[in-house]
Symmetry: C2
Amino acid sequence: MDLSIGEVARRSGLSVHALRFYEREGLFANPVRRLSNGRRIYHEEDLEWLAICTKLRSSGMSLAMIRQYIELARQGPGNEHERLRLLRHHENHVEAQIRELQDTLDVMRHKVRIYEDHVARGEADRLWNPSHPSHSDAAQAGTHQDCHPPEDT
Amino acid sequence: MDLSIGEVARRSGLSVHALRFYEREGLFANPVRRLSNGRRIYHEEDLEWLAICTKLRSSGMSLAMIRQYIELARQGPGNEHERLRLLRHHENHVEAQIRELQDTLDVMRHKVRIYEDHVARGEADRLWNPSHPSHSDAAQAGTHQDCHPPEDT
DNA sequence: CTAGAACCTAGAGTCGTGTCTAGATCAACA
DNA sequence: TGTTGATCTAGACACGACTCTAGGTTCTAG
């Protein structure tokens, strides 16, 4: 039932160093208990919480924000609105990130397609013109890439 | 036609420090020229490239990878496959990021909905049970949150 | 001519997020 | 008993990506 730090590291994917670091940073929902010999003991719900933490982290939520959230939760009921505000804030942030990534993806796919066309038509066909000081790489980011087809970067 | 570093900073959104840093790091497509007095001069196409850089950066492409790419481009034709490989690699990375973010979003929306329900039913209705050492926060991440409705974090 | 703004270089500092080290303790096993 | 491996603490180090500082030059306006 009790889990050692090594076990938790193995199962959470975090390093033992990171687990101690997270504890110092106050990121655990409930304070980590110790055995009489000073060793940490964890439980299943710590693993569950760590899984959520990891998810939030991977979506760009900072440790500081996670700490804020967990502090609110530790204070008990009465601050649900604040917790909601925090969650919604990050939700917006994540949505914005997704939009930005989609946008980047469009740009990159366009670029990949151009490269594929060039490569398909034979590699040596003037993809790069070093004597032309202005390279038209940025053209796809704008709207007029059809006017000067030779892409170089 | 020529742009000063300050002008480029203003229009690119990067700081003059960052622009000099990017130059040191070899991130410019064409080497930055200087006036006789040593001051840098930029052109429109640098701004265009910086816009792309910024987009790639915001999608998590590292400066190291951008440098690799621009180095390939500077080498001229013949390495299009490598450039494609690089782009596709990052494309995959971005796609994975989007999936991960969508997933996080689902978790968070679920959580927000739960909070809203609780708040709507009156705030004091046992959202938090400090005497219950195991908090069920992670339950939504799994599948069995219906079994123990009191959510706490 | 002078004040202030913009620029230059080299290098130091910052921030977030860990990661690693040194030196000690403790448990389990041959 | 001795060794191996897991754990502990405090604090140093790493890394990416800037950001800032000090000290100096140059441009521009009044």
